[in-house]
């Protein structure tokens, strides 16, 4: 079986999370706020039941024709004078985005899980670019040099007291611990970055193939700045985000906010179809009026096609990334961001395994109880426990077996029980 390194680092990480009162406090506050907001939203949106079933069908259809939709999307984006690229893996994505960005540039970014997946910030910084995360949660953890711990609320583990500490270090003066004041600090600090940035990088929540439209859903308004203020907008997103039409995208948009944050609709949905343009002077089209002159859509495979080819794992591609299952997971509530790698919770185990490799996530897989609660609360009813069991089988074949599980298996085969006990008594009448 070789070295147990894959196991040791996770054991340590779990322990740190369990013992960290600060992080546990932040997480439990967030869980309480999320669950009550979502319950309220869902009780007032009974029509969502039908819509979420329809979205499941849309995703099933879209993944079925994923390759075709990639082609259509790229053609559509080019037709409206944007550029489109298909990156096979993380390295290709880093190269494309880095080449588009150049050296020594000021880059503002809105939250992008796909960006984290390929390690975009590190790649850009290596080329001497200065990268600012502008989503408040991402900004906080970027300053703290930590890793995100939730896909919707990356700094969910950082309570207000700690945010105040981080901001006072940034500004070199004491700051209030009041949450509105902390939000104000980020607003003031980042405003100037938005206006001076050379490049804005975003992800996407949905892409409609037929029109080449990128949808970005957010509450803060930072993604609007990022995708609008700099002269160049680069959108990096996974190929599974594409749906055939605008109508399909709108269906998905109705499900995402209530399940993600317990609101009917997010404050902002940006729909971007090509770069900014005007024809107001003599009907002559000029690109880059008030918005970016250049729009680049980078579509990422990085394991997604392999997922689509598998009858079981394909379901992971239906995930709309609301992140609800994480807050609802009893294990995530205790070990938070250590339960996964670049994606978290049960479905995050599958995503991490396919996008960054089995070894990174092998030990965390054994923290999943396969209890099925995530499937129960998922708007698309994704059968995550089934996928995790299947992933575990693959990991076992590759030698990622917990020593204790191996012992249990040996004992079952030899003793008929998992405890290593010798039971010799014969069959007995009750």
């Amino acid at each position: 079986m070789g070295s147990d390194d894959w196991l040791a680092f996770k054991r340590e990480e779990f322990k740190r999370w369990m013992e960290d009162e600060r992080r546990r406090t932040g997480l439990s506050r967030a869980v309480a706020a999320y669950t009550s907001a979502k319950a309220n939203a869902l009780s007032r949106l009974p029509e969502l039941e039908e819509i979420r079933r329809e979205v499941r069908k849309i995703k099933e259809r879209s993944i079925q024709q994923m390759d075709e939709l990639v082609k259509i999307t790229m053609d559509s984006v080019r037709e409206v004078k944007g550029e489109a690229y298909l990156a096979r893996d993380a390295e290709e994505a880093r190269e494309i985005v880095s080449d588009l960005t150049g050296h020594g540039k000021l880059v503002v970014k809105s939250k992008s899980l796909t960006g984290d997946e390929v390690g975009i910030n590190e790649a850009l910084e290596e080329r001497g670019n200065k990268v600012y995360e502008t989503d408040l949660g991402e900004f906080i953890i970027q300053l703290r040099k930590e890793k995100p711990t939730h896909i919707i609320n990356p700094s969910v583990h950082v309570p207000r007291e700690e945010v105040a500490k981080t901001f006072s270090e940034l500004l070199g003066r004491p700051v209030s611990q009041e949450i509105p004041a902390l939000v104000g600090i980020a607003r003031d600090y980042l405003r100037e970055k938005f206006c001076n940035a050379d490049v804005g990088i975003t992800g996407a929540n949905v892409v409609s193939a037929k029109t080449g439209t990128i949808f970005i859903v957010e509450n803060e308004g930072n993604a609007r700045f990022v995708s609008n203020a700099p002269p160049k907008h680069i959108c990096l997103t996974g190929i599974e985000k594409i749906v055939p039409t605008l109508s399909d995208a709108f269906m998905l948009l109705q499900v995402l906010p209530p399940y993600a944050t317990g609101v009917f609709m997010s404050a902002y949905v940006s729909m971007i179809t090509g770069p900014s343009k005007t024809a107001d002077i003599e009907k002559t089209i000029v690109y880059g009026a008030h918005g970016p002159k250049e729009l680049h859509l980078v579509l990422l495979d990085n394991g997604r096609r392999r997922m689509a080819e598998d009858d079981v794992f394909r379901e992971a591609l239906y995930c709309i990334r609301c992140g609800g299952c994480m807050y609802e997971c009893p294990v995530y509530r205790v070990i938070g961001g250590s339960f996964g790698n670049n994606y978290f919770g049960g479905i995050g185990l599958i995503w991490s395994a396919f996008t960054t490799g089995d070894e990174k996530v092998a030990a965390a897989v054994d923290a999943c109880t396969k209890c099925g609660r995530c499937k129960e609360v998922c708007p698309l009813e994704i059968d995550t426990p089934r996928m995790v069991e299947r992933l575990k089988q693959r990991l076992v074949k590759r030698g990622f077996v917990q020593p204790k599980h191996y012992e249990i298996m040996e004992s079952i085969l030899h003793n008929g029980n998992p405890f290593g006990e010798d039971e010799r008594a014969g069959r007995s009448r009750g």
Binding site: A367, R373, K392, I408, N417, P418, G426, G430
Partner: protein
Amino acid sequence: MPDSILYWKGCMSRLRTKSISDSTMELFRRMGVEFATLGGNEGCCGSVLLRTGQLEAAKKTAESTVDRISSAGFKEVVTACPGCFRTMASEYPAIAGQVPFRVRHISQFLIERSPTIKGRFRSMDVKACYHDPCHLGRHMGVYEEPRDLIRMVPGVELVEMKDNRSKALCCSSGGGVRSAYPELSREVARTVAGGQVPAGVKLLVTACPFCNYNFKDACSGQIRVMDLPELLLAAWRG
């Protein structure tokens, strides 16, 4: 023999939470249920192997278990372990081929006999909570039978955990988590019991030997934990 049911203890109550299997058998005797066990030859259902990805060993174990039960001629299997129940009833057909016997959870078996057990209980006078085991509830859809049985005991005021039935929170003793990360498993059980049990509840009723073991271990001194057959036997009159 084929006329009697097979009471399948499951490894946990056979060897760790023996009070659950002892209580189950005593309850059967008092009810006049004709039953047999496989004693020391019972072996393993293979659930834990399935959950830990050891598919080949699981198949082998399941096949041999089907063979042991069917060659002894049993047509009816009753178990108080939801892990065994789910594995045998819903997963064996895919991994062990044909299953020539019926498998039920004890709560389903007992509820069928409610006319013979109703009115046989003394009053307990306790505020209690029922914890839905994942294998029994979400995976097999059995939610009401254990509750109906608990309500048959006079004086037991049954209240619900904050999240219950299909939304119940896993105690995390299953799925191979407790053997891989015992501390994590205890911590989850502590968090679940601490955050989900309403004030004033003195008794947590489980219907799974694994949940029972984990909650007892994690919440010792904080709340009394009893498994369903233990509760029913304790309340049985005469």
